[in-house]
Symmetry: C2
């Protein structure tokens, strides 16, 4: 192979520093998931195709990566079908497995498959990659991690309260202060469609309303009209366009608007419980906001809807989202299991932290201490100290070859190793080590004991 | 979907306890990798097919999972070829990507692709799943993790010394005392073939010798004869069959046997340096053994060969292995980059630790403290304490619904939660919490402060 190798478009190699920084974020998420009582599960990278197909709509089916059957896979395709040469029809004959597209459907499958071993309510988290044959573009990849926490088997609104706290916890820990946790409720959206007499246009209505940020009030109204929503109806929801102020004020506005809708008032009641409870418990650095334009995968959610926006001043889409879905496991035959969950957008969180310069200096893939190699005897002497350092959890290494001093120092510089230890005849005679601080260039003589302290 | 869903054969769902136990092992491995100065990288789950195909032999090519191209993938297959209906010929036309088969080839690809950004010698580790379309059987899966550490860009034998220490470090940390790190050297095997005049039968010779454990001396000799190795030749290596005693004794025996082979003597010298250095540095709980029958993927390794056997009394194949390969990146056009690496067998290590009952009790997916839910006001009171516990890193949760006491206690019991907190009117009035130890059934009254201590 003469040409330089490459990787498939939409995928990424992660360098040591990238891996360490990604792990820093995932560790924070994992830590909070654990302290909130969520339990980790892992599912296979590929599922039987029938588990995934048909769960994400037609577009989703197209974007699922299919795995070719092994062996002489064409043998099983009958001649008539083969002659048609129709990719769409042949796929299911030559491919029985597919890479997972998200973590939600595999989770639903897991719950149904293992229902007899699970204690409900089941709080699970899952941090694994997913794959989508999407057209790659800036910030959109064909392989990316999802970090999901869901509770199934309880309709309690305390879950929603906890999930708001969880978002606050993780982002505060990552020093990502000032994120906004936006909430809405599917029942409020249904209520609005109901009171304006446009229940059959719920989707069109919410899709348009969702664009308020981008296309403004007039734009939204024009779109609504173009979808056949009447001017009378639009006038009725005028207060939505003027919604402002605190969560409490918005809920009061909605209570006036939706007074005649039972569904709408239920949604308001749910949201009010969450807002009130959070205001009593307090948040560390995030703020909770009611956003009546928030829709997200509307067909999916049945109650609460969450979305997290990054700190103000950072141009980035949502860095998290989620909601309640009343029938997650119904697709696999287990009815009436309500679930609620949230997801963290690892790639975007990474970009925000990077843009704001919030990765701590200690989050680095470099080695703390490099020992120069001056020959076999010296290396053995160094190795004894290295063993002590490692036992204390300090990363240390011996330069593998007794090459030129300059080459070894270059290595330390290039890898940004903060400490270099030199130990030759002189040091060995008295049992000392010379420690060079690579940042300020100072040199000190240390015993093994004081060396352990000096490099920490 | 009426029938219960399932997963593809050879794949696994991991329950919370399994994930936590697997992470316990991976964290130990990762921690040692880091303290030894290895840096993590991650590569995409799928590579361009040309990166993988032809790198693992014909059998390997067959076992690589191929991913079907998206869209109308058959359109690009020309009619003549299509008419042949030959799976083998069509695969490369309808599939351009494949799931990685191991971590070594992607690592070689990474090194070549990013050679200008890498500081050599490059010590990398990688812990990621790999996929093989092997026939599933007990202990053999189609998706499994590999945990690899490799150094490229240095021929120094200190690397081999460090890798022996690394094995010792990880297994000692996991309390897996008494593992045996077996070592051999490809040059010793070449030397043996040379001195008995059967250089062209090196592979047959070592494959037979490798079976000494299983089929005994007579079996090995019979196999060698059947492969056309002369009786004279076999008699010359009689000392190999009688090899016993310490590493030093075996090396002395080999020095006698291979005195006329330059290659053989070089191999002995290399192994002797490692054995001598390790004996000076000492190992924590493992022992290092010279095993002249050890071959492992012989075509691959050019120097040191490693294999780790579990503690005596546990029937399990090797739980780790590796070796030195002089031309890892040559397959991608970058010549003369020597590498040496080792791998940990996660699944087998898991089984050994489980069999020996060595998973610590603290390695569990359960929550430490469950707060009973007696209603809205009580739950809010509980939540304030829960927040404090979580801030201290103690996992805690509120039972989400104010249901029957018995149902909530059942949940705690089923999940083996060690502590349950009850807080109703009485406790709220004085600001206390009643703590029930679920193991011994005792109940104590605590302030929030003393509660934090009591559940740790």
């Amino acid at each position: 192979m003469a040409q330089k190798p490459s990787i498939p478009k939409g995928t990424r190699d992660f360098s040591p520093n990238e891996v360490v920084r990604r792990n820093y974020i995932m560790d924070a998420i994992r830590g909070s998931f654990t302290s909130y009582g969520f339990q980790p599960i892992e599912t296979p990278s590929f599922e039987n195709s029938e588990t995934l197909m048909g769960k994400y709509g037609e577009e989703g089916d197209r974007l699922i990566f299919k795995i070719l059957n092994s062996g002489d896979y064409l043998r099983k395709v009958d001649e008539g079908l083969y002659a048609e040469k129709d990719s769409g029809k042949i796929t299911s004959k030559i491919s029985e497995k597919a890479l997972r597209y998200d973590l939600t459907v595999p989770f639903a499958r897991y719950v149904v498959q293992h229902q007899n071993d699970i204690t409900f309510p089941f709080k699970r988290y899952q941090i694994q990659p997913v794959w989508r044959a999407d057209r790659p573009q800036k910030g959109r990849f064909r392989e990316f991690y999802q970090c999901d926490a869901d509770v199934v088997g309880s309709t309690s609104l305390w879950q929603e309260v906890e999930l708001v706290q969880l978002y606050d916890d993780v982002f505060s820990q990552l020093k990502l202060d000032g994120v906004t946790i936006k909430m809405n409720n599917r029942k409020i959206l249904s209520g609005i469609a109901e009171v304006i007499g446009e229940e059959d246009k719920l989707i069109d209505f919410t899709v348009a309303l969702d664009k308020l940020d981008k296309i403004g009030e007039e734009g939204v109204k024009t779109e609504m009209l173009s979808k056949g929503i009447s001017e009378t109806a639009i006038n009725k929801v005028q207060p939505l366009f003027e919604a402002s102020g605190s969560a409490e004020e918005k809920l009061t506005m909605l209570s006036g608007l939706l007074a005649t809708s039972k569904t709408g008032m239920t949604g308001i009641g749910e949201l009010k419980f969450i807002v009130d409870t959070i205001s009593q418990l307090g948040l560390k650095t995030a703020s909770l906001e009611v956003d009546v334009t928030l829709a997200r995968g509307l067909n999916y959610y049945t109650g609460a809807i969450f979305e997290v926006a990054g700190p103000k001043g950072v141009a980035m889409g949502s860095i998290g989202g989620g909601g309640r879905y009343d029938d997650l496991t119904g697709i696999f035959g287990l009815r009436d299991v309500s679930g609620v969950g949230i997801s963290f957008g690892l790639d975007r969180i990474y970009l925000v932290i990077e843009e704001l310069g919030l990765f701590p200096d200690t989050v680095s893939a470099t080695t703390q201490v490099l020992f120069m190699n001056f020959g076999e005897t010296e290396a053995l002497y160094a190795m004894k100290a290295i063993n002590e350092l490692r036992a204390q959890g300090i990363s240390a290494e011996l330069y593998p070859d007794a090459t030129k001093f300059k080459k070894q120092m270059n290595y330390a510089n290039k890898r940004a190793i903060p400490f270099v230890v030199l130990a030759g005849d002189e040091e060995m005679e008295v049992g000392n080590y010379t420690l060079k601080n690579m940042e300020n260039g100072t040199q000190e003589t240390h015993s093994l004991e004081s060396l352990l302290v000096a490099v920490t």
